[in-house]
Symmetry: C2
Subunit: 299 residues, 2 copies
């Protein structure tokens, strides 16, 4: 069975599209790599690229792209609304098929090691690859941004995990690591009372006592005159979509409010949905291998 | 977006595995064709092969395999428990991705036309490709089997759709056509009363007033001391898994019996399951394109 990994590198260039195209070219026409999506934002001056494929092929193309970004992007001249610390700001690796989070972590470390040696460039391991709890959260690592990183890296708390002990003069520093796929999931309530969505959001989110892999908040959908509980599920294999959905329905009863439906924003791994089908149908002995498309993707 | 078709040719050889291997080789190592599964049955003296891939590539390899089957399999000497009329007995084409049943039908006709001309060999169009209602059902077409087909084809009702007006002397005749993917779905009831499963089977199956694309019967699972409603859903896009499941639950109430769970036997298209997730979660604006793996399969 072949393994499939997703990688979503964020590059600190969203205005000079010729440069962006050059970087994208490192992912095009490569055997075992598929460029799924990309978008450049002028205000953020940042491009987010989504690729998937075989771990070795993805690794190679990402290392190549890092080199090109160091060559093309000068962080001393970078301006934009989005916080950033490096020419490649962050590189998450996400296990998609026949792959564990541990294998994605190893892949991230291999990329960081090889690229740091090739380009004399520093990397922080973050998220599931982080070497200390205070280095898991990207926002915390990136605080101070490119301009403040050289100073920040002088202290013991933020020595890089690979590469030189300070920023690359024009490239900065990059966060790299493994994380689970995010599922952006919103549940619509049949009320315009924002307070109810806010309360339920708090009840189900990890921060205030809810599910371990759920970030949630209440949001008003003014055009429709309703509210929603808007979520990010950061590990659907442990905090299931259906479990969150049924819990929100259960909490809604308290307010005499109905759940109208839900929505998945953007991409979702097949398993996050078959998991729901399994629960609601009470499927016995189900295996992802029974899914036709899953067979097509395997060797 | 590339199209994906499934094809499940049934060959009338299940004992001489060297011959079977030669036929399987026509599907191996072909660009755009994936040999998913095969099994040979000695008693039936029959091999069932499952392949998937791009329509043009699948078409070519199937035409090649038909030629090889005509060459290798002598129906005048064929014995086995399974009814059969040709060296390739039946060739269904099933639309899997970015493909309509109409396109699968066209593909089946192209294969029949080209193979009939290449090998001077007759084909009946069946299922969704049938040219008359009495020629939809494979069992009806095949009645009389290889030994009776020459005579049967003399009448007007069973002239072949392609090729000569009689059987191939050693190869016989083949049914070919488009059909939807089958989903084998069983619902387990918390009772050992077979009568209840039989009654519910009748209520939900097309034959006796139920869902259009549902074949169902009651079955005893002696080892577990329970019964199940055992089904084939012949078009899950029109008779959904969840609709059948909820209907069986509803009927069970009448007997004070609980549904224990369910089971999918063998392969199932991703969409049959995401369809259930959509229903139970009330997903708005969901598209199969949001499924990561679906993107991976597309061009």
């Amino acid at each position: 069975m072949n393994k499939i990994v997703e990688c979503v590198p964020n590059f600190s260039e969203g205005r000079d599209l010729q440069k962006v195209e050059k970087i994208l070219d490192t992912f095009r026409g490569k055997k075992g790599v598929k460029l799924l999506d990309y978008s450049s934002d002028e205000d953020h001056n940042r491009s987010v690229v989504t690729l998937m494929g075989e771990p070795e092929a993805v690794k190679k193309s990402v290392i190549e792209a890092i080199g090109l970004a160091i060559e093309l992007i000068d962080m001393t001249k970078h301006e934009g609304q989005h916080p950033r610390m490096g020419c490649v700001d962050v590189i998450p690796f996400i296990p998609i098929k026949n792959m564990t989070i541990k294998e994605a972590d190893e892949l991230a470390k291999e990329v960081a090691k090889e690229a740091s040696e090739l380009y004399d460039y520093p990397f922080f391991l973050y998220e599931k690859s982080a070497t200390a709890p205070h280095r898991e959260n990207l926002a915390k690592i990136r605080k101070g941004q490119f301009e403040g990183m050289a100073k920040k890296m002088e202290g013991d708390e933020f020595k890089p995990d690979f590469g030189p002990n300070t920023i690359h003069p024009t490239g900065g520093v990059t966060a790299i690591g493994a994380r689970m796929p995010l599922v952006a999931f919103n549940i619509k309530l049949d009320t315009d009372n924002l307070e109810i969505a806010v309360k339920i959001g708090k009840q189900i989110r990890h921060l205030s006592g809810g599910f371990r892999y759920c970030k949630a908040m209440g949001v008003e959908l003014e055009e429709r005159g309703i509210v929603e509980v808007s979520m990010n599920l950061t590990d659907f294999s442990k905090t299931s979509i259906y479990r969150v959905f049924e819990t929100v329905k259960m909490e809604c009863k308290r307010y005499g409010v109905n759940v109208l439906g839900s929505e998945i924003v953007g991409l979702v791994p097949m398993e996050a949905l078959t998991d729901c089908a399994q629960y609601y149908l009470g499927l016995e002995n189900f295996s992802m291998n029974q899914v036709l498309e899953s067979r097509l993707l395997s060797e």
